[in-house]
């Protein structure tokens, strides 16, 4: 009776474990390959200066992508990221223009981001509006509101040393990249080591079962959108610091890069499966592709075509890998 029924791991789980990381290993391979190709064909791609650029561009996508990973793991989607970033940066620019203290302006922006995110969360969690539709509404409304308020003109404000520092580098590394890395560590911790993070996976994996186990499914849904809004606000601060003005047309198409980074990183759009490390690699791949193509001097419209093809190909591979490892439980 006391004999343990847990046997030592058999090859089946060993391959299962490998399959769990096939995606990450594959992405690292792809990134190395991209570096090799672009290093060869794009002048200056391997320069230290360009690496800093990649970090800075990556942080614009990455910060929002950490929260988007949780949103997608929970089985939802948030497409309002770009307009949310622009809208919040415009409001913060106005606040600074009217000589509000920097701390108040930025904190106000963060609170606003969380509130706007929670609106999407409440629409999904309580009123059962599909998250695609709820955030599509926000996407349109926020972009429109920002353009209306600014008349599509940049909102400038007095120079601010602290904000300039945020837009600059420390020890040669962009501050935004440092913020991104710190937030990455926090999101890795939350997603793996807290009840909340695991509940997100449970809700995305089987919402009905999670509810019957006593998890507050509605609360989790509201929370992931709130986090997504908050991270959009952080991105807005970085954008404001970098541009020095509030711009209603900024961050156009950012949601595309964010979602692409998450999905290329192996997170399943059906929910329940995905990792922060995957998203990190996915964001890096997306950024490297964008940067490399620009340096190579390809027509910017063709860049969009190449990105689109790469993203669909990555997801195809992801689906095939999931089927191969047979973890779908069907």
């Amino acid at each position: 009776m006391t004999a343990s029924v847990i046997t030592t791991p058999i090859p089946r789980t060993l391959s299962g474990r490998l399959a769990g990381h096939v995606n990450e290993l594959g992405l690292i391979g792809i990134i190395v390959l991209l570096y090799a190709i672009f290093g060869f064909i794009s002048p200056g791609f391997l320069s230290a200066n360009n690496q800093v650029n990649i970090l800075r561009d990556g942080s614009a996508i990455g910060i929002a992508a950490w929260a988007q990973t949780l949103v997608i793991v929970a089985g939802e989607i948030d497409i309002s990221v770009g307009p949310m970033v622009a809208f919040i940066s415009v409001l913060m620019a106005f606040a600074l223009k009217w000589h509000m203290p920097l701390a108040v302006s930025l904190c106000g922006g963060l609170v606003l981001g969380a509130l706007l995110g929670s609106v999407a969360g409440v629409l999904r969690g309580i009123f059962n509006v599909p998250s695609f539709v709820a955030t599509l509404g926000l996407w349109s409304a926020l972009r429109g509101l920002a353009l209306f308020m600014t008349n599509a003109l940049p909102v400038s404000f007095d120079d601010n040393d602290t904000l300039d520092w945020i837009g600059d580098n420390v020890f040669g590394i962009p501050v935004s990249a440092v913020v991104m890395i710190i937030l990455f560590a926090i999101f890795v911790f939350v997603s793996r080591k807290t009840a909340l993070g695991r509940s997100v996976y449970a809700v995305g994996g089987n919402a009905s079962a999670a509810r019957l186990c006593g998890i507050n499914v509605t609360g989790i849904r509201i929370l992931v959108f709130t986090l997504s809004g908050l991270m959009a606000a952080v991105t807005a601060i970085m954008l404001l610091a970098r541009l020095g003005t509030g711009n209603a047309g900024a961050a156009s198409g950012l949601e595309f890069d964010v979602i692409a980074g998450v999905v290329v990183g192996g997170t399943s759009l059906t929910g329940g499966r995905g990792s922060m490390l995957g998203t990190l690699l996915g964001v890096l791949a997306i950024t490297v592709i964008g940067d490399g193509l620009v340096l190579y001097g390809i027509n910017s419209f063709v860049q969009d075509v190449v990105r689109g093809v790469i993203i669909v190909a990555a997801v195809l591979l992801n689906v095939a890998a999931a089927r191969r490892s047979g973890r779908a439980g069907r």
Binding site: S4, T194, R198, A209, N216, G272, G326
Partner: protein
């Protein structure tokens, strides 16, 4: 004159990995005959039906429709069967909710006039088909606006459209109230009089006696007997369904013990009528009942999923007025749902996370989940319940049904639940795991937990229960106490 059977099965067998679902079965049904099909879960009823509808191909033997074998193989078979006049109504509904009743009735075979859909004629014919069942529904209403019972009636009406040769009704009345059952019975007799054969899968003897000419009893993949209903006694049919069963274990009933859960006068019309019960510490209380008898509704009302029209639910002697599911969990309830795959497991997560999910606080240290505490808690459950898994982190979706079920029960042991409501905990589980689950349940009761064990598999109730309540038509019809729980008498009480 020799009539050709509308459907015939000759010496057909069907095997699945580890089970023989049908074993050299001979079966035939004549035009205009109403045949009841009886048998407990896993006796082979569904497989028999699936052979006739073409959803399955026999491993050996042949299936004939109107004396001719199937021409098609594989996927094409079901379409061929439908084209040759076979209709089936299953328990799970197959209507498109957003479409109208008329469109649903002609789904995929919409009536056309010069290339366009002929709505007027579809509505007209749908109205006639509904009238046959005594329904006066407007056929242009969307199905989503109908009650579950009305949807079931629409499905039945659809099966009777045109002039089918054979109609198969699989527990058609489980969601229906008495008046609607009368209408279904009348309609069945009506189409039978016009020469349509009907296979009627049900366990309600009262219905079977009213409409069936003959009954076929299946057990363990074999046809035990086909007999005229008029001459058959209910006890004989029960005996055939169960076969000889050996009393494997004797339950000595728990006496004393304070009631942890008491329910008084719980009503939820039309499904539940004034249910009262006491569930004591250390007791396993069985709820026996057919599909549609109100089993699931009772559990849902206790747990606060639905608000009953009347009645009191008390825990530890204190009535609880406002019940929410999560507050009931905090009071010490644990619930394992009937459909393990849809509502029980989170397939991609490991056994460990599927276990500790009911109470993260017991495995976290100041807000941080402890990997070692999770592993320890999971190992405790895995060892105690004999879960066969390669590692505690193995995704639960890769485990067998029995092992998944043990984890689903084990997660409430982890949460230290005192009152466990187990809805069909042995469904889809192999024999060995079933016996282990019975042992687990007895063990949990010995620790002083109270267990409500809901099952439609009558012959397992005497293996685990101290007491069994028979639920019939939303009422508690009988109470049996161990050691005098007898499967045959329970089944007779269930089928009424």
């Amino acid at each position: 004159m020799i009539t050709i059977p509308v459907a015939e099965i000759r010496q057909a067998s069907r095997r699945y990995p580890g089970v023989v679902a049908l074993d050299r079965v001979d079966f035939a049904v004549q035009p205009g005959e109403v045949r009841a099909i009886l048998g407990k879960n896993g006796a082979g009823k569904s497989t028999l039906i699936r052979l006739l509808t073409g959803a399955e191909t026999p491993d050996d033997g042949t299936v004939l429709l109107a004396g001719e074998p199937f021409r098609e193989q594989g996927e094409g078979r079901t379409r061929e069967a439908a084209a040759r006049g076979l209709r089936a109504v299953y328990q799970e509904l197959s209507l498109v909710p957003s479409m109208s009743i008329a469109e649903n009735m002609f789904l995929g075979a919409w009536l056309r006039r010069s290339g366009m859909l002929d709505h007027a004629r579809m509505v007209f014919e749908a109205r006639q088909a509904l009238a046959r069942l005594g329904l006066t529904l407007d056929p242009s209403l969307p199905v989503s606006s109908l009650s579950p019972a009305a949807r079931q009636m629409v499905e039945i009406a659809r099966a009777f459209l045109g002039t089918p040769k054979l109609v198969i009704l699989d527990e058609p009345t489980s969601s229906l109230a008495a008046a609607e059952v009368d209408q279904v019975c009348a309609a069945v007799r009506d189409v039978a009089a016009q020469g349509t054969a009907v296979l009627y899968v049900s366990h309600r003897m009262s219905e079977i006696r009213r409409l069936a000419d003959t009954a076929t009893v299946l057990r363990d993949g074999r046809i035990i007997s086909t007999l005229p209903v008029a001459e058959a006694r209910t006890e004989d049919i029960v005996q055939m369904m169960l076969g000889r069963s050996e009393q494997a274990r004797q339950i000595t009933p728990q006496v004393g013990g304070r009631p942890l859960l008491s329910v008084q006068g719980l009503s939820l019309p039309p499904k539940l009528q004034s249910i009262s019960l006491d569930l004591k510490e250390g007791e396993v209380l069985g709820i026996a009942g057919l599909l549609g008898s109100g089993r699931t509704e009772l559990i849902e009302a206790i747990l606060g999923f639905t608000k009953p029209a009347a009645g009191i639910v008390a825990v530890d002697g204190k009535a609880i007025a406002r019940r929410g599911y999560r507050s009931m969990i905090r009071r010490g309830f644990g619930y394992t749902p009937e459909s393990r795959k849809e509502d029980g497991i989170i397939p991609l997560l490991g056994v460990d996370e599927n276990t500790v999910i009911t109470d993260f606080r017991r495995v976290d240290r100041i807000g941080v989940l402890s990997t070692s505490a999770i592993a320890r808690a999971t190992r405790g459950v895995v060892e105690r319940l004999h879960v066969k898994t390669a590692a505690t982190t193995t995704p639960i979706g890769t485990l067998s049904g029995g092992n998944q079920q043990k984890v689903v029960i084990g997660r409430w042991i982890h949460a230290r639940s005192r009152i466990l409501l187990l809805d069909e905990p042995t469904r889809g589980v192999d024999v060995e795991a079933k016996n282990q689950i019975y042992d687990i349940i007895r063990g949990l009761a010995r620790e002083g937990r109270a267990i409500l064990f809901v099952s439609s598999e009558i012959e397992e109730l005497d293996q685990v229960c101290d007491r069994v309540l028979v639920l019939r038509d939303g009422q508690i019809a009988e109470e049996h106490t161990a050691p005098d729980i007898d499967a045959e008498r329970l089944l007779a009480a269930c089928i009424g």
